[in-house]
Symmetry: C2
Subunit: 206 residues, 2 copies
DNA sequence: GGAGATCCATACGGCATCGTATGGTTGGGG
DNA sequence: CCCCAACCATACGATGCCGTATGGATCTCC
């Protein structure tokens, strides 16, 4: 993880703006948005802030770029990736399993949620969350639930997701004591999705 | 030490340490622990930091006092308050309903969770969470669930609680769109608690 | 009404960070 | 070979906060 401040044989590393964004996202995941400071980041990257202010106008520009990168990456996240699955029940199940599987994304989401009051963070977080929630509501209404109930259960599912990764930050040992994550998700999904009309096994997705 | 507050009509209110703690907790709920700074708080209270450093040794002492006050207040929270209910199923239901009802405490919990990485906050948060989770696990095992399953479902319930108030911070409008909070909690509890041990399953619960 | 305790204001030095200014180093095209 | 542009280091002033020092004001009690 730790690189020597001087590359052993290379001449000059020559950082790019993307390198700064990546470093910022790592820092956000670890210590939150507030910890994204120019000089500490520069020290971590083995340069000075002279480098930073060449690539970015100011600190806010870096934070915005990091958030934009996160949002763009969410375009490739589970919600979009599995939106094509026709069967609503299966789609919801797949999405939930995939969401809990992706620990790294979950951690980043929890870190951003910790800064959700930050006016820079909130719009990105709200967009992503509303999109995911809306997909849940659509799926549940498609399964025959009335609007109100679909809203409730989608929120329950999404709150369980958000809370899981939040609790993982606060008490990782206690959360890790739930060893069978698949069973955890299955409990959730089986409990909150309406009853299956008929147990129909294999229809693997593309 | 501190003396009893005097309600004289003089122009000097004479702040107490508790006033600072209360202000700190309000600030934590709004902007997180990191926002608890001496000079801004003093400005908000209409005094200077000369007052603060009379009551507290330093900034950390105030934060610790605020966290201790929160933890002490949790002693009067739902988990303790309803621990005496004998029937495990009823106890869990009551606790869940009461927890979601207490919006103010939920908001404060979410705010503290946002700072769960802070080494000062984490111990308090972890203690409270482990205590609540343990009560959930105890209740569910008492209802006949095996250890593993009880752990999963207790975590699911608690994650839904934590996530609900976290999401309320990030997207209050979307969460508020779930108008029937009682139905929301009922969905959760009915979904995750084991079936009533009635010999005939045709007896609907209240 | 004076001594001590309580509570607060003011002033100061110190630290970390932001953002700017400016100069140095390196590589590639004319 | 030289110069320009990309990239970075260094130095500087400004800001906001922390914690200390010290004195002033008010209250208590004898």
């Amino acid at each position: 993880m730790s690189q020597s401040p001087k590359r052993s044989a290379g001449p000059a590393p020559a950082l790019s703006a993307q390198d700064w964004v990546r470093a910022a996202l790592r820092l956000i995941a670890r210590e939150g948005v507030a910890a994204v400071a120019v000089e500490p980041l520069a020290r971590e990257l083995g340069v000075t802030k002279g480098s930073f202010y060449w690539h970015f106008a100011n600190r806010d520009a870096l934070i915005q770029a990091a958030l934009a990168a996160w949002e763009a990456d969410q375009g490739r996240d589970v919600v979009i990736r599995y939106e094509g699955i026709a069967d609503s029940r299966k789609r919801l199940r797949v999405i939930m399993f995939a969401a809990f599987e992706d620990q790294e994304n979950g951690r980043l989401f929890a870190a951003l949620s910790a800064s959700s009051e930050d006016p820079r963070v909130n719009p990105y977080l709200a967009r992503a969350s509303e999109q995911r929630l809306a997909l849940g509501i659509r799926s549940l209404t498609a399964l025959g639930l009335p609007e109100e109930e679909a809203r409730r259960k989608a929120l329950a599912l999404y709150a369980a997701y958000a809370g899981y990764f939040q609790l993982q930050r606060a008490m990782p040992e206690a959360v890790a004591r739930v060893t069978d994550l698949s069973a955890f998700v299955r409990d959730l999904v089986d409990a909150l999705l309406p009853d299956d009309p008929a147990p129909e096994p294999s229809t693997p997705p593309a």
